[in-house]
Symmetry: C2
Subunit: 162 residues, 2 copies
């Protein structure tokens, strides 16, 4: 995808582009804490969005755990929209801000809609924050689910691979 | 992803698995008809879902047009759920049926929810049908948008590449 000229609206998201890998930790009041390995790819095709593709695997066995795919839509005024689909039967629509920092960028978004398939577990609300600083990327995810209020659930600390 | 054992719930979707390519045609009452090239990949990681990743490009220039990513969730009773996100700022939740045929499978689904980001064009309703027969796959997409009722929008005729 890298042969195509970046769309100007994506300029502030340049620090995210590439492939990232590293460990993550999951916690939530209703479950036992767990750790995982994450691979996260941000790419562009010259159009005004950035595609995100993520997968996680169990530490040790390497077996697949979670996955998700979505698209960032920078609006050109420092705000951004994100759509995400997950194999757990969840789709999210989020809006938030892109803040350019000295060493990279911070993207912080809250859900304006979380919707689930009939058989999926209900998630009412989410928040996502991606902080890129050079070749490190920290990802945080909050959710309101299982009767809990919006609560921190996942943090991963990734290193740029490509 | 092919080194992992297929989850039994995915058995009826085996005819979809792989990479498909071919031409498509788009029509809608509010726009000029257009043609495109499509690449569509269905994969699994041993869990009870099938990941879908699609992209289209303009005939001639080869420049990217549409893209989407999602997950099929077969329920084991002949029904299936699908979540999809699109860079146009749309997420879809669909439910429908998996019908095994002599030469493959037909998956026909209608939206139970279509949701859009604040800046996206409104889509009220969608229907998707995927018909695999051996090494050919026919994809149809209907949508209700721009004030039109549910109307056929896209058809692509793909050949298995992998």
């Amino acid at each position: 995808m890298s042969g195509l000229v970046l769309h100007p609206l994506n300029a502030a998201l340049i620090p995210l582009l590439g492939e990232w890998q590293g460990p993550g930790e999951g916690t939530y009041p209703t479950i036992e804490s767990f750790s995982y390995g994450e691979t996260l790819v941000f790419g562009h095709v010259g159009k005004p969005f950035v595609a995100m593709n993520q997968r996680t695997s169990a530490r040790g066995s390497g077996l697949p755990l979670h996955a998700e795919a979505g698209y960032f839509r920078p609006q050109g005024d420092g705000t951004v929209e994100l759509v995400v689909s997950q194999p757990s039967g969840i789709v999210e629509i989020l809006t938030g801000s892109i803040t350019e920092t000295e060493a990279g960028v911070e993207v912080d978004m809250s859900s304006v809609g979380v919707h689930t398939t009939p058989s999926a577990k209900l998630v009412r609300e989410t928040r996502r924050r991606y902080v890129a600083e050079g070749d490190t990327l920290t990802c945080d995810f909050w959710m309101a689910a299982m009767g809990e209020p919006l609560t921190h659930h996942l943090r991963s600390s990734l290193i740029r691979r490509a």
